[in-house]
Symmetry: C2
């Protein structure tokens, strides 16, 4: 077939087919209808013989649609990010779009660069899981008209759609479950919320529920690396519980992981001290007695993100939208103390209370 070092160009196809560049171009630009049958045949023949494939760079230069969607992820090693990415990808595929992914690794400078790279490739939309700090690059991109979707974050100064978990619902579900299970004293643990709006939202909601209800709750904001402080806080919290049963609510999967580690290491009994986390992790049913989680519907979130992009690509400039999704509760042993007999029989049998209705606010 194509033995040349360089890929075939439209001109070569045209020559080989004995037609003009224009006709070949038309064939590949969705105007096949306007070509005669004979013309089409000659073109296909020549193109396949030469192994021709349109060069997106040249295409992009001219300003046509690129069929490209970009995704910028803050931390590729976070399983939650990966799950969302997979959702976005499937949605793209279904829509005939290609997805290119960059990882900013929580580095602002990286984010700048990746953003520049992505935007320079004439992407038709960008799905961003921002590092959270203020980013003028992002704002600029949004202003330039590129459809933008913010995942699990909202940036005050950036004009963009937002898709993510219904944080209020999540916190409420968690609290309700923990109280139902007989836990009277709660500790909410989160990484520093800084500019990460979803962390803020969860923290705020928890605090709010502490204030307005009969809830006896406390919060701990902590850098996950600070093992010493975590251990101390843990001990203090457990001691302070008094008659109430203590339970811990983890703001996300990373926190759940860190906390499970520490609790195991310090010999706390899961369930005796309740443990529950936002984000489902593949090992939650493997570590005895199983960890209760609130799973985010990552597929739906990814799909929604792409939907936003496409809507914005077509329609006129609308006000930023916001789509939130309720999580799914999977109750396991970590929120079940000895005095509460029930699902304990089979470790793998879990009660799954799902509520995946879409909401908007």
């Amino acid at each position: 077939m194509n033995d040349r070092r360089r890929p075939a160009t439209i001109l070569e196809v045209a020559r080989q087919a004995g037609v003009s560049k224009t006709s070949v171009s038309r064939y590949y630009s969705g105007e096949r209808e306007r070509l005669s049958g004979a013309m089409r045949e000659r073109i296909v023949a020549a193109a396949t013989a030469l192994g021709y494939q349109p060069n997106p760079m040249a295409r992009g230069l001219k300003g046509g649609p690129s069929g490209l969607v970009g995704m910028l992820v803050a931390d590729i090693r976070n399983p939650f990010s990966v799950a969302i990415m997979h959702g976005v990808e499937q949605a793209c595929r279904q829509a005939g779009l290609s997805l290119m992914v960059c990882n900013s690794d929580n580095d602002l400078e990286q984010e700048r660069q990746q953003l520049a790279l992505l935007s320079s490739y004439r992407i038709e939309g960008l799905v961003v899981n921002a590092t959270g700090r203020h980013s003028d690059a992002l704002a600029q991109l949004a202003d330039s008209g590129t459809p933008l979707v913010l995942l699990d974050r909202s940036l005050a100064d950036v004009h963009a759609d937002e898709v993510g978990l219904d944080n209020d619902a999540a916190i409420d579900m968690a609290i309700a479950h923990l109280r139902e299970q007989g836990y009277g004293r709660l500790l909410f643990i989160t990484e520093p919320p800084a500019q990460a709006s979803s962390r803020q939202a969860r923290l705020e909601r928890f605090n709010q529920r502490c204030r307005d209800g009969s809830l006896s709750g406390d919060t701990l904001v902590i850098e996950l690396g600070d093992r010493q402080r975590l251990d101390q806080a843990l001990a203090r919290f457990v001691d302070s519980a008094g008659d109430s049963r203590p339970a811990i609510l983890c703001a996300n999967g990373q926190v759940t992981l860190a906390l499970t580690r520490r609790m195991k290491a310090l010999g706390y009994l899961l369930g005796e001290i309740g443990l529950m986390g936002i984000d489902e992790l593949e090992w939650c049913d493997l570590t005895e007695p199983g960890i209760t989680t609130l799973a985010q519907p990552t597929g739906a979130i990814g799909q929604a993100a792409v939907d936003c992009l496409r809507a914005r690509a077509v329609g006129p400039r609308q006000a930023p939208q916001r789509a939130t999704f309720a999580p799914t509760l999977t109750a396991r042993g970590s929120t079940q103390h000895a005095a509460t007999p029930s699902v304990t029989a089979e470790p793998s049998s879990v009660s799954s209370l799902s509520s995946t209705s879409e909401t908007s606010s």
Copy 2:
């Protein structure tokens, strides 16, 4: 600054600076030295005022270096793939290269498309974790001169460097460890090796060691979804052990996960029946009594991949290279039966036998 909808072009910068396009181009193409001080100043001034950034598309059209490296991953949801990706990324960053990632989701057609996309963007190199099946697209890309590195796979008909685990060493280390721990009867479980060369290599080595040694071993090739067959095979294996202690060796992280699930569900005692897996997973120390693993040095592997790319970009056409890395053994409770007292004291204290010397074959 730049209020226009469209990003500034080199021509606009040139005009504003009162110089020619060529000079501006030179400034951004690493030929700053050849410009006079005054010229440089005018250019920077104009460029920053306009917020100018070279357009990679136009650059790519002309054929200059793109500073872009592509990575094609077969399964983005596999933590091992993600770990390697992170390694590749860090190496790229260090080398001043940008990385774009595509996921083929184990789909051959997807792989084709992503490949076309990536290659059309004039990437300077491609790191591929192929789906494994024959891919003429890949072969073509390699022939076209794009530096190519195959991760954890080798494709007979593709001319490319290969980087991955030293599979023979890994199997040998695993077997040695298991025997040391007193396990006399071994079962190696793998997903269908089909075209996945590393699976094949591991399987073959295990078989070979069975034949030439006093090793009493068996192998199971299984589709992970087939729970029923897995359970049966498990039961049969355990029954067949007789006097010897049985242990299972998992070919990769996915297998380890599936097997841990089943063993827990079926009530087998980890350690009583040995369990060990290639690939380290974040929960291996969390599920009692801890799972013994052989961790791949993903950072080193990623770095090596990028090194290959760069070497090939500079140097002349060489014969394909092959770099393999030895894994790191982390012994945990799953390969320690009651009769063997030792590390059991502290769950978090693990004995780590590392051997990260690079080898080549």
